[in-house]
Amino acid sequence: MERNEKKVTEEQIAYAKLLNICGMIAFVLLVVFFAIYLTGTVKPHIPLAELPKYWGLSLPDYLEQTNYKAGWSWLNMIGKGDFLNFIGISLLPAITILCYIRISPILIRKKDTLYIIITALEVVILVLAASGVLTIGH
């Protein structure tokens, strides 16, 4: 394996390291916030015992009946036990954006024009998806 590691590019190593660190942080956050949620340490928006009323609903019905505005509105509800979990959950897809940003300076230094463009485009796409701009009605 050591011989193989020598063939791995600098950006690939940097990408892997950040992916690993952020992945571990996300999993720890998921477990900690879920424990807080289950133990009732922080009061949830929807009481746990009432969840079966909602988890079988279609998305539009769920949003209407729980008065949840979706998008990034969970940030305003971070004080509720269930929405506290969204910190760990949203970190999972955010890791990819961070990894792309991490390798950009390396690609710029190497003057790898095509991959600088590809990386920049991917960041734009992921940020647009994360922003909530790319959604239409159900």
Binding site: M1, N4, E5, K7, V8, T9, Q12, Y15, A16, K17, L19, N20, C22, G23, A26, F27, L30, V31, F33, F34, L48, E50, L51, P52, K53, Y54, W55, G56, S58, L59, Y62, Y68, K69, A70, G71, W72, D82, N85, F86, G88, I89, S90, L92, P93, I95, I97, L114, Y115, I118, T119, E122, I125, A129, A130, S131, G132, L134, T135, I136, H138
Partner: protein, 336 residues
Amino acid sequence: MPGKKLKKFLYRISKKPCLFVILVIAGFALIIASNSFGGSESEHLVPSAESLSRQSGLPWWTWPVILFAVTFVLGILAVLAGVGGAVLFVPIVSSFFPFHLDFVRGTGLLVALSLAIAAGPSLLRKGLADLRLALPIALVTSCGAIVGAIVGLSLPTNIVQTALGAAILGIVLVMILAKKSEFPEVKKSDALSTALKISGIYYEASLGEQISWKVHRTGAALLVFAGVGFAGGMFGLGAGWANVPVLNLMMGIPLKMAVSTSISLISITSASAAWIYLNKGAVLPIMVVPSVIGIMLGSRIGVKILARSRPAVIRYIVIAMLALAGARALLKGLGI
């Protein structure tokens, strides 16, 4: 100590496929039986999952616990059969659990993403996955996945459920029919892959030698990947089932590198689509966290028993499970 006992138990099971099949079938029978309390609902094309949950008479906490147990088993099977977790998770959970398909797909993407994040770093560091190969493909699959997620969340549930059933049965066919080539022959790199400088060398431990690889049909493969991304986003699947054949058979990438690069790809593609589901509100922590933890723990056990298991037998079990879940999803979508 309990961990050791569990490992021993799982090892014994993996050596006795009949026992394994019985356990899997018993698990499914339990879920179906618990789902069936109170009879069926003929007035809806897709039976109300809410009423399934209420009619089962089970307290709320049993569902996350069952979900955790099932995803734990799926994590083991996914590793042993060489498939992604979400391709098993979405059809099985949407068919046998009281959760709505919208939330199941959102969770499925996060399950696929978690597995890819956990496995990706090691594969990238060892050079078994190639980032230079993954980045252009990820750009195309991300676009497809975002469009797929938007379309999937805009369509009526019965249509998505029917299409999911058909897609899963299609995946079963791909798994049965698709051949694999350990070291495909690529006579000449195509112009696009040459411009992108996609080629490399990796160390093949089983042969003890360096294997050089290059790719062809890059343009055509990118078109196929757009479709793969679309399906992944629409149904909440990780799409490893399609990535590997396209990378291996179409582009000519050695099998081990195709599997590893596919995992890196999933971490990018699933992230794109997961944002859409998150922003639309199709994510429930009570489903996501037990599923992610269950499948992660299961996959770790799976990796440990992989060397001593019989992959062919387990692959057939997984194909049978997918066929069952796909058929049920199709019938459910058609209201039969």
